[in-house]
Amino acid sequence: MNPTWTPYRAGLSRGWSEFKHAITTPSEVIGTLFPSAIAIIVMIFLRDVIVDGASVSLASMTLPSLLGMNIAFSGLMGVVGQLSIEREDGTLLRNKAIPGGMTGYLIGIVISVSTMSVIALLLVLAPGMFLFEGVQFNGITGVLTFIWVIALGLFATMPIGAVFGSVFGSPRQIGLIMLPITGLIAISGIFYPITALPEWVQWIGQVFPIYWLGLGMRSALLPSEMAMVEIGESWRHLETVGVLGLWAILGLIVAPIVLRRMARRESGSAVAARREKAMQSPMR
């Protein structure tokens, strides 16, 4: 058997097992469904709100944006969460002790985080298409757009998640990045059109993937005339690919360096020290 591909195959099966564990663990299923359920309920109240110049309700506009945000959020936080938890509990070290284990481990994370992200997304989209008028795929191109936006979105966010997950020493530090992310969501045109914000704020929003993921999802799921309320009165697919692609390239360059540095420092005593600290921490 070829040692080059073995870790990749083992990683695929690892990801698949983790996915199975996630969907058979009630707390994880609830954790995935709960925010989506809340989002749908909130949007039901927005069904009759119409933004100036729009042909569909605010709820119908928000739903695709929310899907875009979910991709960014679950791609990023999924990896951050899993990495920091599994670094602390020794999962990562165990894989480090195995030939090719780190490769398989990372493939496993990519598989499990991306499948869970897509499933969470479909769970919001399916009822949303029934509940909100105007939310549907714009033909086959809409379906294709939907797919490439998701794929590119995961590529843009998961490596960044790996960087943050490597930098943080413990899962209890994750809160540190929740605040800036929440702030970013507020200026990314998810719950209200970005054009309502001052122009300099719009520029900041457009630097990060969340805005572009929302825009991409709107382009896949809303009637084409809705492009008129966007910046430049266009879906700007080229720019979407450009910005998300840049984030993906940046992440794929930086993440391996940071991951390797982090993994090199893992040892039994490092895990033991973290365990000690976690057990003393009153937050457990």
């Binding site: 058997m1 070829n2 040692p3 073995t6 870790p7 195959r9 083992a10 099966s13 690892r14 097992s17 564990h21 663990t25 599994e86 509990d89 020794g90 999962t91 070290l93 165990r94 480090k96 002790a97 195995i98 030939p99 090719g100 284990g101 398989g104 893992e266 040892s267 039994g268 005593s269 895990v271 033991a272 365990r275």
Partner: protein
């Protein structure tokens, strides 16, 4: 010191070869010239008080920690440069805590074993057949249980199973029985014996418990003060230490105690001088355990240097 012949033999036989290994954290020298070797099939115990540098040593050999100086060869490779094919020949038994809690025992061993398949040879089939392995560590009844539901002892056996799933040539165990009750400890000792018998696996384990080292190891290396201060089988160490003896006797109803290196000579002189007046004669040699415990006690009360010197004096 080493002759040409022993060097030639070493390069063929030595599974582990450590020479003048040094480790410095900031200004603190944790290891100051550790030197030892292990041959194929040997079970070695690295014994020493807590904080003596056992874990640091084993982590350097595992390739998990960079050393500050010295020569290290593990299965003919410098661990700092070990590639995946080298790693495939090593087994590392780690202490589990909460990792892989949702995985079932068989599922986890299947997953971790997959990585070893390319390293299978005619002589050694890799990985270990999962069900056989589960039976070997006595977890058959729990094969389909989630890892999180296992007891501490069962978890530890799973840790060993994970460490040996790739049929390693060399196995590292760091403080394997910490937190075990006597029963679990005994079961674990049986398991290690079976391992070393089965595949000629070389085993290096660390412990702070002399009793455990005596039970498990062919050879004991005592690590203290950043150096190996004694190296030999339990019997050899005990014999070396028999130089110091305590002599007790009574004369005219009075009790006397005297410690000496040459008990026979002292007793002969005692009788030559007092003859029949001597009664209740007792000559007792300090055991390895007593000497070791004394060393540990001094070590832990901060008299590390004097403890090491005193111990070396005795075992010289």
């Amino acid at each position: 010191m080493t002759t040409a012949r022993s060097v030639a033999v070493d390069s063929l036989e030595a599974v582990l070869s450590v020479s003048d290994l040094r480790m410095r954290y900031g200004t603190k020298d944790v290891l100051q010239g550790v030197t030892f070797k292990a041959e194929r099939g040997e079970v070695l115990a690295l014994l020493g008080p807590n904080g003596a540098g056992k874990t640091t040593t084993i982590e350097i050999l595992e390739g998990f920690r960079m050393r500050s100086g010295g020569e290290v060869s593990v299965l003919g490779t410098d661990p700092a440069q070990g590639k995946e094919a080298w790693r495939a020949k090593l087994g590392v038994v780690l202490q589990s805590w909460r990792d892989h809690g949702k995985w079932r025992v068989r599922e986890l061993l299947n997953q971790l074993g997959r990585y070893y398949a390319p390293y299978s040879t005619e002589q050694v089939r890799r990985p270990w057949d999962t069900d056989e392995l589960i039976a070997a560590v006595g977890l058959t009844e729990h094969a389909n249980h989630k890892v999180a539901t296992l007891s501490g002892g069962q978890r530890r056996r799973l840790d060993v199973a994970i460490g040996i799933v790739g049929r390693p040539e060399l196995l590292f165990l760091d403080e394997p029985t910490v937190g075990f009750d006597p029963h679990a400890r005994r079961e674990f000792h049986d398991l290690v014996h079976r391992l070393s018998d089965m595949d000629d696996t070389t085993i290096l384990l660390t412990t702070h418990d002399l009793d455990e080292a005596e039970k498990l190891a062919d050879r004991i290396l005592i690590l203290a003060g950043g150096r190996i201060i004694a190296d030999g089988s339990a019997d050899a160490l005990a014999q070396k230490m028999s130089t110091e003896a305590e002599i007790k006797w009574t004369r005219d109803g009075e009790r006397f105690v005297h410690s000496t290196l040459d008990a026979t000579k002292y007793v002969r002189e005692l009788f030559a001088e007092y003859g029949d007046e001597i009664g209740d004669l007792e000559v007792r040699r300090a055991t390895l355990e007593e000497t070791y415990m004394e060393m540990v006690r001094r070590f832990e009360t901060g008299q590390a240097d004097s403890a090491v010197r005193a111990f070396e004096e005795v075992t010289k």
